[in-house]
Symmetry: C2
Subunit: 313 residues, 2 copies
């Protein structure tokens, strides 16, 4: 006699029963169905995820930017000249308007001063110390707790179905690796991001990697497919993002043979998180939203589609 199997538990309990959730479940069922027309070998089940605004928050400003500001404030006593010099003055005065007006050159200078001039090990200690002590201005929690619970479930669900999950983010590769494994279950070698140049050196007979104030790679927009090719060497079959910075990753993913899945988070929930898209300074979502709708990519309405946003709710 055939035994009734217990119904398997919902792999995505923080998702409401919506079209988006169904699209995810359908895609995974189809690519994992052995002998089915859309079956994909495990080795080719590559899924890439943007980080800021896709796996954790990015408001009121990219968290790594807030780290840079805190770092500059910590270094300021050694640099009295910063009190009167931009871009530093804007940071020290908490002048958000001046910060917004800095432009790429000013922001890059802030990044270099706050991220370079140390060894990789020293930088890890600095970031870890910040993670242990800094608090998000709205939620008053450590930043690495502001990860989206529905996305954490989605990552685990994909991995349980043979996917290899990667981060492909504009954020700093060495900034993310410190906490990505604990927060998302993604090991360092599957974290891809922007980077500055590092240089191998012997110091007192001990080899170190020194972080130089020079951009190595910007992993955003057209840089994302380049980084995917460089680090992974296979085209993803699924990509997840939330802004125009992810458009080329979606295009690259969608252009492969066979079934493909592109999912765009639309930040629509001002009450539980934030609502922003086409006019936002942070995580602007404009052309990617238009293209997602035109191409029937899955667009998640965070307010309607997510039962909860954070694990601490």
């Amino acid at each position: 006699m055939k035994k009734h199997r217990a119904k398997s538990p919902d792999p995505l309990p923080s998702w409401n029963d919506s079209a988006a959730k169904q699209a995810i479940l359908d895609f995974v069922t189809r690519v994992t169905k052995k002998g089915g027309p859309d079956f994909v070998l495990e080795a080719d089940r590559i899924a890439t995820f943007d980080n800021d605004g896709t796996l954790w928050c990015e408001q009121p400003f990219y968290f790594q930017g807030l780290f840079a500001f805190d770092r500059i404030k910590a270094l300021a006593p050694q640099h009295p000249e910063w009190q009167e010099r931009q871009p530093f003055k804007a940071v020290l005065d908490n002048d958000m308007k001046a910060l917004a007006d800095l432009g790429e050159k000013g922001l890059l200078e802030l990044v270099m001063v706050s991220h370079a001039g140390n060894t990789t090990e020293e930088f890890q200690t600095i970031v870890q110390d910040w993670l242990d002590n800094a608090k998000h201005p709205r939620f008053q929690r450590p930043f690495h707790e502001l990860v989206y619970q529905p996305m954490v479930e989605l990552l685990a669900y994909l991995r349980a179905n043979g996917f290899k999950t990667f981060i492909v983010s504009g954020g700093g590769i060495e900034f993310m690796r410190l906490w990505a494994e604990e927060a998302y279950g993604i090991p360092p070698e599957q974290v891809i991001g922007s980077s500055i140049v590092t240089k191998f050196e012997m110091r007192d007979g001990k080899p170190v990697l020194v972080r130089l104030p020079q951009l190595n790679f910007l992993d955003d927009r057209a840089g994302k497919p380049v980084a995917i090719n460089q680090h992974i060497g296979r085209r993803p079959i699924a990509a997840f993002g939330n802004s125009d910075g992810d458009l080329q990753m979606f295009q690259w993913t969608a252009a492969g043979d066979g079934l493909r899945f592109c999912l765009l988070l639309h930040h629509t929930d001002a009450a539980r998180e934030w609502a922003y898209d086409r006019d936002s300074m942070v995580g602007r979502l404009d052309t990617a939203l238009t293209e997602a709708r035109a191409r029937n990519w899955t667009v998640v309405d965070m307010e309607k589609d997510w039962k909860r946003v954070f694990s601490f709710e």
Copy 2:
């Protein structure tokens, strides 16, 4: 009554019972012994391998160099001016002396002309076609058959013990990825190498990555620890190489906490393969050999320590 367990089969059957083999077995036993003083978590069992001269041959010249020469000969009919112009003339005349005298600038020009100016997909087709048709001048076999059987066994043995195996080679990342999985069981995302700049572009509405004639990264010498940090983000606990180009990878690996393992192949077998070291133009092994002996790293004498070199023997 206790049953006698069958003796487990030798995981390294192509290795003679030597000090080198024993050093490998001891290291793996110690880092995998739960509760032992040298135990290493699976996630941290990272092993990095040079490729040319470590996993496959590099004589009479780096195989990718031979690919470049063949490619230039294939393109020559469209470039009549190459008949009289260096560095091309040296290739077309098979003038090894002139090739040796080209210097870095000339070699780089040959690399760019033979490797750039196509999309990543076009390049894969070109390399695959070469792999399918070109033959090694001495062994008269496809190049990807000239992999060292003892090293293939070692890779499998490490993986069976929870290691993640990576290639960290001066060779081209997109050149190696085409055959590394079949030859070594190493998937594309664990192949690290030198690269040229690629650029994302839309061509007739289809996204492509175009290979530009510009060096992106040279994964040799001091570049190896940089690449390891960039791609893996963890320090290896074991490293395998055969030339001075691997010295900094060894130093970086050895400088970590806990038990570490560095293994250097010494090409000593002129009969079955080649014998070369301090004066070789290809795969020069000089300072790394001196340092390996001073620091008691494992040095493999290929003539004495390997029962066989190739699987086809």
